[in-house]
Symmetry: C2
DNA sequence: GATATAGGATTGTTGGACATCTGGCATCCC
DNA sequence: GGGATGCCAGATGTCCAACAATCCTATATC
């Protein structure tokens, strides 16, 4: 790690914040890492503690860092977009968030059908087979793993990094609606067929059919999970309201 | 056993930041307003200047506030999502950003067709008429105004606040690609027909036709403007690189 | 009337001090 | 030996006071 204190074009704390951000986004400071203490950063940069602290507070506020009193400061997110986006989604109507996710899912399916290569198509077929096996074995953990790997691969096939990131953040915010406790054997069995239709369309390059398959897949999931998701969201908000006394 | 919540649930500066954020998002401090000076906030809150400053720096970093030395601090954005999102989009591949926008545009058209009411349909017809009039009169300013009003109304018809906000931020980041200097009389005339087809489909509640119309509208715009947009983005990046000496 | 200048107001930066909390080590007791 | 207890170094949180750099404005000057 090398940090330099450059000449004055913007505020010093903003420049330090940018450098720290780059260390995180570049992966040099991975998520979970405990970063050097304020005193060490002060010594390395030759700045005052308040200036360094203001930079750190900025990243703490955006959610890239997490400071623990008496312990240290840890990297908690790779993207500055993640935390604001998750916060915004949590304030949104649940239907709106789910609908946006469905829109992106459908678009990703269509793009994936147009852009997947042979290797990716083979991997998709392998993953959907794993999904079916997990469902037959009633192995919930394996089912969830295969399902998320499948969707991740579809996003990779779509070759749109921005869309993939937005979808990912959205999924993170909505993960309460697909939490394991809501998993249902009958639902999983039903989804297998829809997944197979989707993957088949993508593999064959049929964008229109891929989009309709993605839509019906999302719809079936939504119909099954929406009531529980609403309950979970309401409970979460009650917890927060209680904690903050509003 | 009774457990009492700890007195300090979060840091003071974080709480102040939350309060300031709420003043902004609630509209009590509108965009452009000069907020009280640090010294006033210190006096009002009864906290030290450093604590208040850390809260302010957090909001400055997220882009909700802008501080000017010797002048004051001003509200510069209503949403904490806007600035990170715009930054992220500016780092993304231009094609990815445009593609995501097209996806949202298409989805909004479909949703609008399903959800518009009679009053909105009438307003859409009025706006598309204004668009045609502006095109005939070769009034560029009026054309741009009517065009943006039209798209704003479509988003309102779609009744998905989250989708609308993401679309809005995306459009803000991409505004270089629809900047007035790229406006072209022939292109505008061609777009009139596509707009009319789109609005007609929405007004009639034909979601499928609305989506295809939106797609062809975006495609035609994209084909016409992509080269210029690439140039504009490259120029912007050169400017930034020069300023920061990287 | 236009320009130059001085002053006040505001944010940026520094250095130091103390408070509060945490994790880990040493100690003590069983 | 193992577990509970107490202590302490180190980390972040908060406060204080001062100076620097910059901008806006009112005043003075020509």
């Amino acid at each position: 790690m090398t940090l330099i204190a450059p000449a004055r074009s913007s505020t010093l704390s903003a420049q330090i914040a940018r450098q720290l951000e780059q260390l995180i986004t570049s992966g040099e400071w991975p998520v979970g890492k405990r970063i050097p203490a304020e005193s060490e950063l002060v010594a390395q940069l030759g700045l005052s503690r308040n200036t360094v602290r203001e930079a750190l507070r900025s990243l703490v506020h955006t959610g890239m860092l997490e400071a623990r009193v008496g312990d240290g400061t840890y990297v908690s997110a790779l993207s500055e977009l993640q935390t604001p986006f998750v916060r915004r989604v949590n304030r949104a109507r649940l239907e709106d968030a789910i609908e946006l996710r469905a829109v992106l899912e459908r678009a990703a399916a269509g793009l994936a059908a147009r852009r997947r290569d042979a290797r990716q198509a083979a991997q998709l077929r392998k993953l959907v087979a794993a999904l079916r096996a997990a469902s037959r074995a009633k192995d919930q953990a394996a089912f969830v793993v295969a399902d998320s790997a499948l969707h991740e691969t579809i996003l990779a096939c779509a070759r749109n990094a921005l869309l993939a990131e937005v979808y990912d953040h959205l999924g993170r915010a909505l993960k309460l609606s697909t939490s394991p406790q809501l998993w249902d054997q009958a639902l999983a069995a039903k989804q297998i067929g829809l997944h197979e239709a989707l993957i088949d369309a993508i593999a064959k390059g049929d964008a229109v059919r891929a989009e309709t398959a993605a839509t019906s897949l999302v719809d079936s999931l939504q119909a099954a999970l929406l009531p529980a998701a609403h309950k979970a969201k309401a409970a979460k908000e009650r917890r927060l309201a209680q904690r903050f006394g509003t």
